[in-house]
Subunit: 232 residues, 2 copies
């Protein structure tokens, strides 16, 4: 197979690269669909009608991101259900292991969990062709959740200091579960891992770079926890 | 108070009429918000990723209907949360009394329950000013749920005849609960009831007409049950 230019127009004709992109869009699409469900569940727990409407708006926005990813998969000739299926196990397990006990845990999970995922996908997107990268950046745009979660969580901590301790532990558990499921995906999905670690003829990360990516993910996680008023 | 023309431009300046419209938009808005939540819950129960995505799309469509109603309430100078609040009790109780036991009951509930509600609001809309009527008709538009529910339920009945008997009973229960909560709303919300039975200076229904409305609601319910392949 001839070497492909980074993000070149021909990149998607290269079968291992195309397989990696289908994997990436598949995991993102299933992630958006579960984000929709999770935010809708949070809306059901919302203390006021205004909070409920705001969470429902975010859920609808995540659904529209899902639609963009699904349409792109169809455009690439891939079956969206087939592309999402390999990621149901890891993502459903992540959600089963991190079911929020209340409204505040749900807000922290959405903010911290989506933040970790978005950071990771943005790192990967550096190695994508221009069209795919633009779509990934578009669907990772904050749907207004960040500001909402920060405001509500900070207000709750100010009202009761013990809440901060409990939510700090919760944030650590979320990071641990996210890393554990990411390992599982990396072990199962050769095409996607190959894109990241450079087993296909595309620019990719070397081991030192992977180390730096994890350092950045951890650093950003600490910043998000601090924004919530929590120790990481 | 001077007599107001039916659907005239001044109708909303007439305080009892305006109060009735705020009630109507409030109950519709809360109905759309709960429809969003319910469809999102059904999406979580969906047997396939394709079914899940279709239900999530309908949920997002209901949310956008909610946004249109909320924006109209704001435009009328009403507080959307305050307008919705009186209807939380009856609607939450309807949903608590008719929690679907499975995916098929959820589909029948969405199709039959939304059908009854839409029929009722369409009857009421005959007595509204043109702008409000146009909005009501717009938000009651089918979001693709009807065809989806009919197809899935008919397929399930064909596969197992006992399912039909169980779902027919379920449909009757839904109609009974809907009527019982409608009675409660009529007893509690004077402005809205006045709009329907003509206690304000607007064209409205006389008792014979109310009887005919109920006959039409029942007839349409029977038709929807038949479309599902169920006896009413």
């Amino acid at each position: 197979m001839a070497e492909q230019p980074a993000g070149g127009v021909d990149a998607l004709d290269h079968p291992p690269y195309r397989a990696a992109v289908v994997d990436l869009l598949g995991v993102l699409a299933y992630g958006e669909l579960t984000a929709f469900e999770r935010l809708a569940e949070d809306a059901a727990l919302a203390p006021t009608l205004n909070d409920k409407a705001q969470l429902a708006a975010m859920a609808a926005a995540e659904f529209h991101h899902f639609e963009r990813l699904r349409d792109r998969l169809v455009q690439l000739g891939a079956d969206p259900s087939a592309a999402m299926t390999p990621f149901r196990g890891p993502l459903d397990e992540f959600h089963a292991h991190t079911a929020p006990a209340d409204w505040l845990e749900g807000l922290v999970k959405a903010y911290v969990g989506d933040g970790i995922a978005a950071d990771f996908y943005r790192e990967v997107s550096a190695f994508l062709d221009a069209d795919t990268r633009a779509l990934v950046v578009e669907v990772l745009a904050d749907t207004g959740h960040a500001g909402f979660a920060v405001e509500r969580v900070r207000a709750a901590i100010t009202g009761d200091a013990r809440v901060g301790g409990r939510l700090a532990l919760w944030g650590r558990r979320l990071m641990g579960e996210a890393l554990s499921q990411a390992h599982r995906v990396a072990a199962d999905r050769d095409a996607l891992s190959a894109l990241i670690v450079g087993a296909i003829d595309q620019p990719s990360m070397d081991l030192a770079e992977i180390g730096r990516v994890f350092a950045r993910l951890t650093e950003n996680h600490t910043k998000r926890m601090a924004a919530l008023g929590l120790s990481a």
